[in-house]
Symmetry: C2
Subunit: 149 residues, 2 copies
């Protein structure tokens, strides 16, 4: 069984709070959400940890993972796992869905959307009597920079 959207065991009170940032104010979670929204996007947990350390010198990697699970559960962040198997995180909720063009040379991520593809995916699922809840399209290849070399 595969869980795609992991809802963390939110503390009881957190579920009642509209901002979903937790039952209590937490400097770490706020910092991590901020790293996520102000950073370049598509960061790994380790990269997020590194960025967070600049603001909170003693924050541990476990806290980062916990906060990320939490934020994903709240819909404030989204996790996705590219072909290298290392999870990346991006802010979610306020941002539109998008697919990824991933450069296999420099590792950069380009966000892209094609409404038509989105529509066709729904059709494809329907054709198989499949009820889609989320999807993920990744195109691997060379970005314009790397292809030029």
């Amino acid at each position: 069984m595969i869980i795609v959207i992991t809802m963390p065991k939110l503390p009881f009170k957190a579920r009642e709070k509209s901002d979903c940032l937790g039952a209590r104010r937490s400097t770490r979670r706020e910092a991590i959400l901020d790293v996520l929204t102000s950073g370049p996007g598509h960061l790994s947990a380790e990269e997020i940890h590194k960025a967070a350390l600049k603001r909170l010198p003693r924050i541990g990697i476990a806290t980062v993972y916990r906060a990320l699970k939490f934020l994903c559960g709240c819909g404030k962040a989204a996790e996705f796992i590219p072909a290298d198997g290392v999870a990346r995180y991006e802010p979610a909720g306020s941002r539109a869905h998008h697919d990824h063009l991933i450069c296999t040379s420099c590792g950069c991520f380009i966000e892209a959307v094609d409404p038509e593809i989105e529509r066709l995916q729904v059709r494809l699922a329907a054709r198989h009597r499949f009820k889609p809840s989320s999807h993920k399209l990744e195109i691997y290849g060379l970005c314009s920079n790397c292809a030029g070399k």
Copy 2:
């Protein structure tokens, strides 16, 4: 940097052989390829190992991983990593590309293709001056069986 299609270090002679099954005949690699082609598909390394053990009671998991890398390098198998982060393998080469509908309830994989989506993906990449080499579309949701419940 993200390597999507990992070409294993093939032994020198293996590269010259057309069947690409290795420089030498290997019962294990043949068995694993057979598990792959005759099995239900989308098996994890562990599942493949379990199936292989029935034929070769002493085969080790390392051999399975090595063989899988090898077969992927030869184009005889394809690896893909769904949202749970655990690699799955399927026979390749003789089979057409396809996308996956993945049931988040029972974990089943449905293979599907939509030629139009394929075309639009190329267009989408081109629009970003991106040179695609492979892509992966996964739709998560409920299969008809699970949706009915």
